[in-house]
Subunit: 273 residues, 2 copies
């Protein structure tokens, strides 16, 4: 296990440079020798799927993941079915872009009933998984921070993501570990170890003290409270050696020129991750 | 188990009417037939401990808890010892005010090492507990929401609070359940049941979607995503039938006249808790 991570593993999660469109993000990665990119679905609309695919292929970049599927819970059965269809389209897009990971942000409860919402997440994954398997795309369940339980994801711990994964017992389902979401968990290292070969992605940022905002609250690596290197080494010890996405949702960083952000993130990645 | 809670159990946690001093809060409770009050230590300074005690006794109010002890982790041993002494003063004050519960907000890590901070919490409680036992004051470990792990408490789940409690095996240590902090936990009901007789307090508010602020983010009961009645009934089924504190940290509610806040909180308590 190396002390510092290789820059061959760094990936720009597109949300970090939110003001760049896909072409600008691709060109930025090429300019800064960032070999991976994680693409957001709403950014695909800017150029369309085929043109996006062509731009990425011509750049030589690899796609670490497509963000995001999920959002399964809804009050009515037709709406839940609609969302399952949308997840299948996301699988198609991931396959088209040449990435084998679709990140799932599982969705909040449509009302106060969090248990039922969790059941709907399970049912949703059950419906999408065979389709993902057929298309060679893995579903990466990303537990979100509990502060997003009411508006983004009822799946909030590594334990929940592991239990879901273990239920399906398929190599096409697994867990995405994002330090911002899970760093506080007293059982974190146990559950990283338990996840083992099912870890499908690893995301870094930091937790400023306190965060400037609930949604746009993440910091650059090194600017917060998270034991980044310890978590990265645990994820490696569990067997994950794939790309490491830098995913930072932060207005001040969005307002910084993208080239500066990429310079800083590479430096901080080596220093702190 | 009653469908709605009795107003004989409602307690005004003083932070809910932050702009009132202790005398105003006492008078407000008397005017509105709120039989319990939870006192914050910084509010005691306004009139001094003896005068505060006298005012409370003359009002006929009962004190549900003193808020707060804790804040154990610190980098240096002398500083940790100083904090333990401060916790003993808090025990003295609780005993003097006639409440048997001192709420512990356990404190953040002084650096990134969250494991060591958790160990310091345990050591701190170990030192304070015999003193609390001698003075007939119970230490109530309040797990805080994981979004406060970096600046307020490394104890963030009911599981951690239960494990700490079980280690000491004393009737003078237990858990305070605050819905805002724990509602998202997939293991919540298991851990409420596991806590059993060691539940020392129950706090209500709500989780607005999304909260207006990280610190001042709580809502009035009924204005958010929390299954309040379900949690209250689970806490009762586990054996807790003591006072229920309304603890809301929210700028808009602080800016509302206190009498209006007390009217609303009584109504919402009956409707939603």
């Amino acid at each position: 296990m190396k002390h510092e991570p290789s820059l061959e593993r760094i990936s720009l999660n597109q949300i970090t440079t939110e003001k760049w469109d896909l072409k600008e993000a691709i060109n930025g990665c090429v300019r800064h020798d960032v070999p991976w990119i994680s693409v957001w679905r709403h950014k695909l609309n800017e150029y369309g799927l085929q043109e996006s695919k062509k731009m990425i292929q011509e750049s030589g970049l690899q796609v670490s993941s497509l963000c995001r599927g999920g959002m399964f819970p809804a009050s009515s059965l037709p709406e839940r079915k609609k969302r399952i269809e949308d997840n299948k389209r996301a699988v198609d897009e991931a396959a088209e872009l040449g990435t084998d990971v679709l990140v799932l942000v599982c969705g909040p409860a449509p009302d106060k009933d969090i248990d039922t919402a969790r059941k709907w997440v399970q049912e949703g994954i059950e419906e999408v998984l065979p389709y993902a398997e057929q298309h060679g795309v893995k579903l990466g369940i990303e537990p979100l921070h509990p502060m997003y339980a009411a508006d983004r994801s009822v799946i909030v711990t590594m334990e929940e993501a592991n239990e879901l994964t273990e239920q399906f017992a398929s190599p096409y389902i697994g867990v995405v570990v994002d330090v911002f979401h899970v760093w506080w968990d007293p059982n974190l290292y146990y559950h990283i170890d338990r996840a083992r070969e099912s870890i499908l992605g690893f995301h870094v940022s930091d937790w400023p003290v306190p965060p400037p905002d609930l949604f746009k609250g993440r910091g650059m690596m090194g600017d917060g409270a998270i034991e980044l290197r310890r978590i990265r080494q645990a994820v490696e010890a569990a067997g994950y050696h794939g790309p490491i996405e830098v995913e930072i949702i932060n207005q001040a960083i969005w307002d910084t020129p993208g080239d500066e952000v990429l310079n800083t993130m590479k430096k901080r990645f080596v220093e702190h991750c």
